[in-house]
């Protein structure tokens, strides 16, 4: 079982959490200006790396707060957990489209 360190509650078992998909997906500033392909890319297309991956988790059986975790999808090691208003630690790279991965 994974153990995740909730930024507010400390280390807890995976069963207390729910997974929320990829983190740091920036919502387009003006969705109405997008064509269908760009909107679909925002809505449905997610990274699928073999390696460190920033994802959202919610501590549903604890403090009920959302937070972010960087998890290695190959080893399942949780490399970092941090509050959702914090930047991704270490690896933050600002892209031209404003998205941070």
């Amino acid at each position: 079982m994974l153990q995740l360190t909730c930024p507010w509650c400390g280390p807890r078992d995976e069963t207390e959490f729910h997974h929320g998909g990829q983190a740091h997906v920036a919502r387009p500033a003006d969705p109405a200006a997008l064509d269908d392909a760009a909107w679909a890319a925002y809505l449905f297309f997610r990274d699928n790396p073999a390696g460190p991956f920033a994802e959202r988790w919610v501590h549903s059986l604890g403090c009920r707060r959302w937070f972010h975790a960087v998890r290695d999808t190959v080893t399942y090691a949780v490399l970092a957990t941090y509050r959702p208003d914090a930047p991704r630690p270490g690896l933050a790279v600002a892209r031209p489209d404003g998205e941070t991965r």
Binding site: D13, T15, E16, L61, C63, R64
Partner: protein
């Protein structure tokens, strides 16, 4: 059928475990590994949500007579019961009796700030598990470290016991209060009495 001349709604209250009081008594374990489960009478419970720092936190602390706890696991004794930390901006105020909570004063302390003050007395049931074997019983179905060095009396966490989401409060030495949602109380009571049974038998090496 409730007596229609009874004085007020409080007299009509029925606890979700009232029908199991005999079964809970029968499950009491005595001896060196004693453990007993009781359902405590209904008590006033108030949900508080507010920004913990700043003037609102200070005003709420003034009404309660003590500052609200600020970190996971912490509790604070106040003039109106014990405040349990549920989240960074969320607390549960659990009184020791059914006396009304100071809702109006708390609401005035909150003022226009974002948050809420709600009486949730019917939301949860309070079970008390007491005895030298109480921690052993809980550890069969509860993941957080319950050793007194990590979870001493006076601490409370939101977690699950036997897959039932609840607040687990170490209210005194060898005494744990479990606060599940009322609809989960019966399942939890059966789970706990089943888990308690073995402690009445001699220990096997």
């Amino acid at each position: 059928m409730a007596d229609p001349t009874a004085p007020g709604p409080a007299a009509l209250r029925r606890g979700p475990l009232d029908h199991l009081s005999g079964a809970l008594r029968a499950a009491t374990v005595t001896g060196p590994r004693a453990v007993a489960l009781t359902a405590l009478p209904c008590r006033t419970t108030t949900a508080l949500r507010a920004a913990p720092d700043g003037p609102v936190g200070a005003r709420l602390a003034k009404v309660l007579g003590a500052p609200l706890p600020t970190r996971c696991g912490e509790t604070a004794r106040t003039d109106h019961g014990t405040a349990l930390w549920l989240g960074p901006d969320e607390w549960l105020l659990v009184a020791e009796d059914a006396a009304p909570a100071p809702l109006t004063a708390l609401d005035e302390a909150l003022g226009d700030a974002p948050g809420q003050i709600v009486d949730v007395s019917a939301q949860r049931t309070v079970l008390e598990l007491r005895g030298p074997a109480a921690r052993d019983v809980l550890e069969k179905g509860c993941a957080p470290d319950l050793h007194p060095r990590a979870f001493p009396p006076g601490r409370a966490v939101t977690t699950a016991v036997g897959q039932v989401p609840l607040i687990l409060w170490h209210s005194a030495a060898d005494t744990y209060r479990l606060l599940p949602r009322s609809s989960f109380a019966e399942h939890l009571a059966h789970w706990l009495t089943d888990a308690m049974g073995e402690y009445g038998l001699p220990e096997v090496d």
